[in-house]
C-alpha cells in the first residue's frame, strides 16, 4: 500500500492522540451520528432489507468461490466491447501499467474519480514521480489533497475536517493548484461546494485522461459501474479521450441482474439515500460518446491471499459503503488515521492485516481495535461477520499458523509481543480446567481483600487509570453455596 502509511505506530498509540483531540472528537461524533440516524431511516423504508442483504452476500460469495471463471469472463466481455484488459499482481505493477498508459497519451496531467483501489496502491505518488500530476476531483479527496492530509474515511475521506478547517484549506491552497478560492469565502457548505466547482471546472474541461476505480464489474456484459454524487465522476468518465479504470478483482458480479440488489443496498448503506445522485455504467467504448480508449487494470495486491483464508475471505464481499465505520464506537473515538491504512474502521481492521499481512506493528494491532460489539456486522449490507474475522486474525497474531503471502503458503510464527499474554492465558486455562485451583485462587483473593490496592501497578494501570477496581467479596459464590446448600440453610 501507499508509502504514506509505512511506519505507522500501533493502533492504541495512534488512538491515544485522537481521543485527546477534542476538535477531532467533535467532528467525528457530529458526522457519524448524523449519518447513523439517516441510514436507519433509509433502510427501514424497504421491507425486504434482510432478503436484499442475504442476496448480496450470496452473489458475492458465489462470485468469489468461482473467481477464476468470472475473471476470464470479464476479460472476454471487456475486450469484446472494445476495452483493453491488464492484470496487476501488486501495487507496483499496477502503478507501472497506469504510468505507462498515461505516458503513451503524451499527457502530463490526469483527472481522477474517487477510488479506493488507486489510493491503496499509492498511484498519485507513483504518477508524480514520473512527472504526471493527478488531480483528485471528489470534494473530500480534494480537501485531503489540498490539505496534504491523509484520508480518514472510505466515503468521506475528509470527515475529520469541519467546515471551518475546510474553508481555511481552500483559501490557502487552491491558488497553488489552479484557480484560487473566491475572495471572502465563508464556511457554509454550499459556498465551499461552489468553490470546488469553480476550481475543478477548468481541469475537467481540458482533461484528456481520466482515471477511475469501479464499484462493480458485470462479468456477463463487461459493464463497469461507478456510483457517485457530485458529477465529478461523470466528468472524468465521459469528457477525456482515454479512461483507465483500476479495479480490485473482488468487484465482479456475475450478471447485469445482480445490480438490482446492490443499487438498492449500496446508496442506502452509504450516503443513506434512496439513490445516489449519479450512477454511470459503461461497456467498453461507444462511438461518438465518451472516451475512445478504455483500459481496465485488474488488481490483485493481496486479494488472492485474502481469498485463500476460509474465514477471512468474506472481507472480499465488501462494497465499500462505510456503514460499519459510521456505527463503530471505536472509529468514532479513534478516528480514521489511527488505522494506518486507506481502509479505516471495522472493515479496515480486517482488510488491511489480510491485504498486507500481520507482520507490521500496526497490522498486528488492528484485529484488537474493536470491543467486538457487533454493530458493524448488524449494518453490513453484505453481512460480513466482522467480529468473527477480527477474532480469527487475533488468533493468527498470537498463535501464528499457515497463511498465504503473495501466492505462497507460509507458516507464521506467533507474534513476539504476546509472549507474556500467551503464558498468562495458558496458566489461566490450566487453573480454570481445575475447579479446585480456581477455588484456591478465589479464596486467596477474598482473604487478602483488605490489602488490595486501589490502583494497579504495571500493565494493570490500563484499567485502574480510569476505572475503580471492583471490591473482592468476603467469599466467592461457591463457598456460600456449599456453606448454605444453596441458601437452604438460610445463610445470606
Amino acid at each position: 500500500m501507499s508509502g504514506t502509511f509505512v511506519g505507522m505506530p500501533a493502533f492504541p498509540k495512534a488512538a491515544h492522540e485522537a481521543v485527546g483531540n477534542t476538535t477531532l472528537r467533535g467532528n467525528l461524533r457530529h458526522a457519524t451520528h448524523t449519518i447513523r440516524a439517516k441510514r436507519a431511516n433509509a433502510v427501514a423504508e424497504v421491507s425486504d432489507w434482510a432478503e436484499l442483504r442475504e442476496a448480496g452476500k450470496r452473489i458475492k460469495d458465489h462470485t468469489l468461490r468461482h473467481l477464476d471463471r468470472y475473471l476470464e469472463q470479464v476479460e472476454e466481455s471487456v475486450v469484446a466491447a472494445g476495452g483493453v484488459v491488464h492484470w496487476a499482481a501488486d501495487a507496483d505493477e499496477a502503478n507501472r501499467i497506469v504510468t505507462h498508459l498515461v505516458k503513451m497519451t503524451g499527457e502530463s496531467e490526469v483527472v481522477k474519480v474517487k477510488s479506493m483501489a488507486t489510493q491503496e496502491i499509492g498511484l498519485n505518488e507513483a504518477l508524480e514521480a514520473e512527472g504526471i500530476h493527478a488531480y483528485e476531483t471528489d470534494l473530500a479527496e480534494l480537501i485531503v489533497q489540498l490539505g496534504k492530509d491523509r484520508p480518514s474515511h472510505i466515503l468521506v475521506p475528509a470527515i475529520h475536517r469541519n467546515r471551518g478547517e475546510i474553508r481555511d484549506i481552500f483559501a490557502r491552497e487552491m491558488g497553488e493548484w489552479g484557480r484560487p478560492a473566491p475572495e471572502g469565502l465563508t464556511d457554509t457548505p454550499a459556498e465551499l461546494a461552489e468553490a470546488a466547482r469553480l476550481h475543478l471546472r477548468e481541469k475537467f474541461l481540458r482533461a484528456k485522461v481520466g482515471i477511475s476505480g469501479a464499484n462493480f464489474i458485470v462479468a456477463d456484459t463487461g459493464t463497469l459501474v461507478v456510483v457517485e454524487s457530485e458529477g465529478n465522476g461523470r466528468m472524468c468518465l465521459t469528457l477525456p479521450e482515454t479512461l483507465i479504470s483500476v479495479v480490485g478483482i473482488e468487484k465482479i458480479v456475475p450478471t447485469w441482474r445482480d445490480l438490482e440488489v446492490f443499487l438498492q443496498t449500496l446508496p442506502r448503506s452509504s450516503t443513506a439515500e434512496r439513490m445516489n445522485p449519479y450512477t454511470s455504467t459503461w461497456t467498453g467504448t461507444t462511438d461518438g460518446d465518451g472516451p475512445s480508449t478504455f483500459h481496465l487494470v485488474l488488481l490483485d495486491n493481496g486479494r488472492t491471499d485474502t481469498l485463500a483464508d476460509e474465514v477471512g475471505r468474506q472481507a472480499l464481499r465488501c462494497i465499500r459503503c462505510s456503514a460499519c465505520l459510521n456505527v463503530c464506537p471505536v472509529y468514532e473515538r479513534a478516528g480514521g488515521h489511527a488505522y494506518g491504512s486507506v481502509y479505516p474502521g471495522p472493515i479496515g481492521a480486517i482488510l488491511s492485516p489480510q491485504l498486507r499481512g500481520t507482520q507490521s506493528e500496526i497490522d498486528a494491532s488492528l484485529p484488537y481495535a474493536s470491543s467486538l460489539c457487533g454493530a458493524c456486522y448488524e449494518v453490513c449490507p453484505v453481512a460480513i461477520d466482522i467480529p468473527e474475522v477480527l477474532v480469527h486474525l487475533r488468533e493468527r497474531v498470537v498463535e501464528g499458523g499457515p497463511v498465504t503471502r503473495e501466492g505462497n503458503r507460509v507458516v507464521l510464527k506467533p507474534a513476539k509481543g504476546h509472549a507474556t499474554e500467551r503464558a498468562a492465558m495458558r496458566a489461566a486455562r490450566w487453573a480454570l480446567g481445575r475447579p479446585g485451583a480456581l477455588r484456591t485462587g478465589q479464596r486467596l483473593a477474598s482473604r487478602t481483600r483488605r490489602l488490595h490496592p486501589r490502583a494497579l501497578p504495571g500493565p494493570g494501570k490500563a484499567w485502574s487509570g480510569t476505572r475503580d477496581l471492583p471490591a473482592v467479596p468476603a467469599e466467592p459464590f461457591r463457598d456460600w453455596w456449599q456453606r448454605t446448600r444453596g441458601g437452604k440453610d438460610g445463610g445470606q
Partner: protein, 251 residues
C-alpha cells in the same frame, strides 16, 4: 426440570450477590436450581483474545459439567453468547482443520439448552411479572452480546417494566457499546475509557439512581467509571432487581 446455574467465573469470584439473587428469584418462581461445583469458565476471554485452541479444553469441561442438565441458566449475555454462538463455530473450525467431529459432537448438546437469565424467564418460564419490588429510578443498558449476539430484544425491559415501584427511564444511545470488550479494556484502554465515560454521561443525563444491565463484566467497567467520575449512580445487575421483594428488598 433439572436446571443448572452457570454463574460464570467473574460472577462467582467478584459478584456472588448476583448468584444469590438468581437462586432466590428462581426459587420464588418454583425452579429448584443446582450449582454444579465443578464449573469454572466458558473460555470467552481466551477465545476473543485469539486463543481458540486454549479455549477448547475449557469448552469441553463446560460440556462435561453441564451436559446432563435439561436447562442451563446464566446471568451473563456474553457468556451465554459464547456457548450458543461460538461453541458451534469452534466445532466447525476443528472440523475444517481436519480434526474430525469430536469437538463439535462434544459441544453440541449444551448449545441449545443454554439460556441467558431473561430469556429463561420470558421464554421458558413464560413470565414477565416476577413479583419483584424495587422502588428506584432505573435506566437499562442492553449489553452488546445480549442485544446483538443472543437477540434478547425487549425481554429485559419487559421484566423491568413489570417490577413494582420501579421507574424505568430511557438511556440515550442505549445500544452503543460501553467500551468494556474484555481484553479490549486493557489493550485499547484510552478508547475503552472514552466510550465508558460517554456511556456514564448518558446514564447521568437520565437522572436515574441505578444503571441496570444483564452482564456484570460490562457493569464492572461502567461502575468503575462511575466511581472514578463520582457520579453517585450505581450499577446493579438485573437479577438483583428482579430478586428484590417488599419483604426482602435489595439495598
Amino acid at each position: 426440570m433439572r436446571v443448572a446455574l452457570f454463574l460464570t467465573c467473574v460472577n462467582d469470584t467478584l459478584y456472588p450477590d448476583t448468584g444469590r439473587a438468581v437462586v432466590k428469584l428462581l426459587a420464588r418462581l418454583g425452579v429448584d436450581v443446582d450449582f454444579p461445583m465443578a464449573q469454572t469458565c466458558c473460555g470467552q476471554a481466551h477465545y476473543n483474545t485469539g486463543y481458540r485452541h486454549e479455549t477448547e479444553p475449557l469448552a469441553r469441561h463446560f460440556s462435561d459439567v453441564f451436559g446432563e442438565y435439561e436447562a442451563i441458566v446464566t446471568p451473563s449475555g456474553s457468556c451465554g453468547a459464547m456457548v450458543r454462538e461460538l461453541y458451534p463455530r469452534m466445532g466447525e473450525r476443528a472440523r475444517a482443520e481436519g480434526r474430525g467431529e469430536s469437538l463439535a459432537a462434544t459441544l453440541a448438546p449444551v448449545v441449545p439448552k443454554t439460556y441467558e437469565l431473561t430469556e429463561f424467564l420470558v421464554d421458558v418460564l413464560g413470565v414477565t411479572d416476577v413479583g419483584a419490588y424495587y422502588p428506584h429510578k432505573v435506566t437499562y443498558h442492553p449489553t452488546c452480546h445480549g442485544l446483538r449476539g443472543l437477540g434478547l430484544g425487549d425481554r429485559p425491559r419487559r421484566l423491568l417494566q413489570a417490577v413494582k415501584g420501579l421507574e424505568l427511564v430511557e438511556l440515550p444511545g442505549a445500544e452503543e457499546c460501553c467500551g468494556f470488550g474484555g481484553t479490549f479494556a486493557l489493550k485499547n484502554s484510552d478508547v475503552s475509557a472514552a466510550m465508558g465515560a460517554d456511556k456514564v454521561r448518558n446514564a447521568e443525563s437520565t437522572g436515574a439512581e441505578v444503571l441496570c444491565a444483564a452482564d456484570n463484566s460490562c457493569l464492572m467497567h461502567i461502575g468503575g467509571t462511575m466511581a472514578r467520575l463520582s457520579t453517585g449512580m450505581r450499577p446493579v445487575h438485573i437479577a438483583e432487581i428482579l430478586a428484590s421483594t417488599e419483604e426482602e428488598p435489595a439495598v
